[in-house]
Symmetry: C2
């Protein structure tokens, strides 16, 4: 069998894997949106079975043999050098996925799934009771299993390398640590200056904002962002999310809070940013495993660029505030553009990550990254975690959690065994700002376009420069190609410093 | 391996098959309700793949070996006599399904799927143009493939036996023909007397009935019928249907016509009748292939019993008309119970099956059964079909189709290769009336209960006598058990004659 023949057969196998992944995504989307409540048990069995079928196919000896026949190996996952670039990108991605899954014994995978299921239930109860000790034994188990997982997958430097790679392929602990170190220092400086500065009023955001009007405004935003409802949907769910159910089916959900208009609006922009990425892959990779975000960090760069850099900009609301005010005339009566703009950009050190503003947000991530790398390296014991959490919170934010629920127990990730996920949120901020700087250089009239409601120029640039590539380029390759240099926190920090100086008269 | 061990393993395999069937049902439900329009191509690929996986598992040599090890064979599909009754019922159902699928060469199945796909497209165009000759070549192909299918499956008497068995397991052509013969004669007599009798006024059903109010009334009806929305949903789709997505997830859809209140109301009662059956299987068979309607005829008996025998009864509207009138005060102003009751029960020979009343409906089926058995037996050529259709329509209804679209081209079934499906609709009418007679005998206060809105007694009786069994009893066994005798058209005819005599002053 020639390497080309092997690639052709692998494409067929991959195509079916993608169809199964999409079917599974529908099962999960439905669970969060429309499924009757009593069906939850069977639904998890359906999902479990499809996942097992996907796992069996991905790790089948046939796939291993075909990868070998195509010349893909640990030393060169891109395979036979005679193959076209696109095949080599495909092989690299498939080899990585296959390799990760075959290395894990089925037994360990099942144990992790079980531990995560129990973990979430126990975590929910512990958080409700605000009692870390209730969660600690199960978390210890999850950490131990995760360390074993890292060992099976293998790593050169740090066991956490094997974990972060699941969410941010090819990233390493050392790389992230070095970027975060510079980020932390300058962010702390900025936060300090903001805390010492004037106060910002955002009381007008907390009024009665009827949910149906918020949904109407959301649809207006989606139209402005060119999110195509013949290839997607907007529904409501307890937690907003984006999911891909097909090449032409990328759906988002929103949650509206009728007492607080910010939640719904910015989460819709955020999720639409994710969705536009998934809808923009080039024709040649559509339907394959390359039709995916190349990393969670890059995915998050798309959502955060839209949500924060565009969606919280002054030109954006120059265009959209009058439309919002038409829907909420009494709630926004007398609120000027300047007041609105400052209000939605209020910065305040706080305890809860998901409520954090764009300046302090990355500090929440740095705290988690720091603690989880130490947990995985065996340098921090689970029992010492609350104390370490509180100490770091005090250092970074100048405040102390009132209790475990608003501290170490606030996030679900560890209870699900998702170690290595957190840093991707902050990487998203950095990639997003670095991409935005390149976009701004390429489109000198950007602010003018945004203020005219012409968001299409943004989508076109993102699509051409980023979306089309899907996972054919790694995050690093993409970043070099789009911005001409490696990832750096500089762009994000400059963006923040320039944006917040006038807001806070710094 | 003992027969018991074989049964245990078969239950495991079956359990996963059911999970996959339910996942597939979600893909199809979503396609009809919420899927973005551009996703249709990929969705059919997803469904095709899951169906192929289900087929491969069902026809695997392992299943064949296990069935043999359990003692299930052509001569005794119920397997080893030492097994408990429930296992024997399970083996019979699985053996039948396995046997039907293994007998069909994969090549023929693919050819049929392709021909049906093209068939539907061509049929749609032919119907739009009202031109049978455009559909004829593809229909010939479908008939030929279906005859080959019947030959592969095998039959004793008539090739149609192999086809009807797909939808009405264990039924035979001769049996259905003999029942339909008696039915036709007496229905024609009744229709003749009604045509000669007084006219019924139903003009008030055609007014502007806002759809949201119709949906509100539908939810009221569903509550009255004890359709549990924690185990189901009501959505809207182009054609109403019921689908089972899990043991605790049976959904229905409705289509409301804002100019005609009958369509929506009665289709909701109809679909809820189907859904209540699927929600009522006994705990011991839930999640297995026995948790299914035992035949389409029995399934249809449940929907039609609710829709026609209960839903179009006078006591039912004694309770519900005031509630309907509260929602539509102007539309139903001055409409008495008697006028309403007569209006919803208007009988009129017509050309279109799906618009037919409960008296003439079965004649539409008899026509189709007659023609399709002759097509399959090679006694009627496809080219002669329109003429045969029109002649029989004239005989049965005294009217002639204006064109092919309102005649031979009106139904989608043949274009999908679904030969053998039609009779189940009429069998449903007969089983429904026979069950209703038994229920009436068991609950002397039935009309009083219905008029008090106490529909729960009906559900309880149906559940206890019919639903719990699922497919553990065949349609014939169930009928004997519930009514003490074999299926007979007598109950249905008596029901109609007694009901319509006062309505039409016969």
């Amino acid at each position: 069998m020639t390497s080309r023949e092997a690639v052709t057969r692998l494409h067929e196998i991959d195509r079916e894997l993608q169809l199964l992944e999409h079917a599974n995504a529908l099962l999960m989307w439905d669970e969060e949106t429309y499924m009757p409540e009593k069906s939850i048990d069977e639904r998890s069995q359906q999902v479990g079975l499809l996942q097992a079928i996907i796992h069996d196919r991905l790790t089948s000896p046939e796939v291993g043999d075909l990868l070998a026949a195509a010349g893909a190996s640990e030393s060169d996952p891109r395979g036979d050098a005679v193959l076209p670039d696109e095949s080599r990108a495909f092989l690299r991605a498939l080899h990585r996925k296959h390799r990760r899954e075959v290395k894990l014994p089925g037994e360990l995978v099942s144990e992790l799934v079980r531990a995560a299921m129990i973990g979430q239930a126990v975590w929910r109860e512990a958080r409700a009771r605000s009692d870390f000790s209730h969660f600690a034994p199960q978390l210890r188990k999850l950490v131990d299993l995760t360390i074993r997982k890292a060992e099976y997958i293998g790593f050169v430097d740090h066991p956490y390398d094997a974990l972060i790679d699941e969410f941010e392929p090819w990233a390493t602990t050392a790389q992230v640590r070095s970027i975060f170190a510079g980020l932390e220092k300058r962010l702390e400086g900025l936060v300090g200056r903001i805390r010492a500065a004037r106060k910002v009023d955002d009381a007008f955001l907390e009024a009665d904002y009827p949910v149906d009007k918020q949904a109407e405004f959301s649809r207006m935003l989606l139209a402005g962002m060119s999110y195509d409802l013949t290839r997607g949907r907007l529904d409501q769910s307890a937690h907003p999310f984006t999911t891909t159910l097909g090449r032409d089916d990328v759906r988002i959900t929103a949650r509206y809070n009728h007492n607080f208009v910010k939640t719904g609006i910015f989460s819709v922009i955020h999720e639409a940013g994710h969705a536009l990425y998934e809808l923009g892959f080039s024709e040649s990779i559509r339907g394959s495993l390359l039709a995916a975000g190349t990393s969670l960090g890059i995915h998050e760069s798309q959502s955060r660029l839209w949500e924060n850099i565009i969606g919280r900009s002054e030109p954006f609301w120059r265009y959209y505030l009058p439309q919002l005010a038409r829907l909420f005339p009494s709630q926004l009566h007398g609120v000027s553009l300047e007041r609105f703009y400052r209000g939605i950009n209020k910065v305040e050190p706080s305890l809860i990550r998901i409520e954090a503003d764009e300046v302090t947000y990355s500090l929440h991530i740095i705290l988690r990254f720091d603690l989880e790398t130490r947990l995985i390296a065996g340098e921090l014991a689970v029992d010492d975690l609350p104390e370490a959490w509180n100490r770091r919170t005090k250092e970074l934010f100048g405040i102390l959690p009132d209790n475990d629920a608003s501290g170490v127990l606030q996030d679900i990730h560890w209870s699900m065994g998702s170690f290595g996920y957190f840093p991707t949120y902050a990487l998203g901020n950095l990639y997003g700002a670095q991409f935005a700087a390149a976009m701004r250089a390429a489109i000198p009239s950007l602010d003018h376009e945004i203020a005219s409601g012409n968001l299409r120029v943004i989508l076109e640039w993102l699509r051409r420069e980023i979306h089309v590539h899907g996972a054919a380029l790694t995050a690093t390759e993409l970043c070099e190609r789009v911005t001409g240099q490696a990832l750096s926190a500089e762009f994000f920090l400059t963006y923040l410093e320039q944006k917040y100086a006038p807001i806070y008269d710094l």
